[in-house]
């Protein structure tokens, strides 16, 4: 074919076949649907039950297997970190932990609630809990790729 005769630039990556792109889209759609369905189902479990423990342990086992058994293509981490730049993160995370620890030390009273006590009532709503679980699952996938 004429298109095959056109010389490709050396820096140009080989074009991906169209069928492969379609297959990847279908795979992503199926995975996304599965994750949403799982999150919705997981959100229906009652806290402090075996089911509630399982809905966390199963993704934990899958992520553990993926991380150490079949690691996906990883996003290359930076070779070094700017210490000054990172310090902003370190300070903010430390303040968050300190704020939480202060509430925890006071036994999380009404007048000084811990983050958990503020988040728990929100998780009482089924759609919100499902969304939180979905975000947690996606964060796990994001971490495995790092």
């Amino acid at each position: 074919m004429a298109a095959d005769d056109v010389p490709r630039r050396p820096d140009q990556p080989p074009a991906q076949p169209r069928w492969l792109g379609r297959r990847l889209t279908v795979r992503k759609l199926a995975t996304g649907t599965g994750l949403v369905a799982y999150s919705w189902f997981a959100a229906s479990t009652e806290p402090f039950t075996g089911g509630a423990l399982l809905i966390v342990l199963v993704p934990g086992a899958v992520i553990g297997f993926l991380a150490y058994g079949r690691p996906p293509a990883r996003i290359p981490p930076p070779q070094s970190l700017d210490i000054a730049g990172f310090s902003y993160w370190a300070i903010t995370v430390a303040v968050l932990f300190e704020w939480e620890a202060a509430a925890f030390r006071d036994n999380s009273q009404w007048w000084h609630p811990a983050l958990t006590d503020l988040v728990d009532p929100m998780l009482g709503s089924h759609p919100v809990k499902a969304l939180a679980i979905l975000i947690w699952l996606l964060a796990g996938w994001g971490l495995v790729r790092r």
Partner: protein, 66 residues
């Protein structure tokens, strides 16, 4: 009542600060790394990877199992 509001506002400010840092980190020519970059850096050696994944698992257990 005032103490409770201060606590909640404190949490809100710190969480907002995390989002601001992520926004700043995504801008060009910035010294602040993104969350993914510094987590990726910590996760380079296997103990760092193990601890971060353990933290993720703990977060799920803490908020969704109990």
């Amino acid at each position: 009542m005032v103490t409770r509001v201060i606590t909640i506002v404190g949490f809100a400010i710190v969480i907002l600060a995390l989002f601001v840092l992520e926004y700043l980190g995504r801008r060009k020519d910035n010294r602040i790394p993104t969350l993914g970059e510094w987590l990726g850096f910590i996760m380079r050696p296997w103990p760092g990877r193990f601890l971060i994944l353990l933290g993720w698992l703990w977060l799920g257990w803490h908020y969704f199992s109990r």
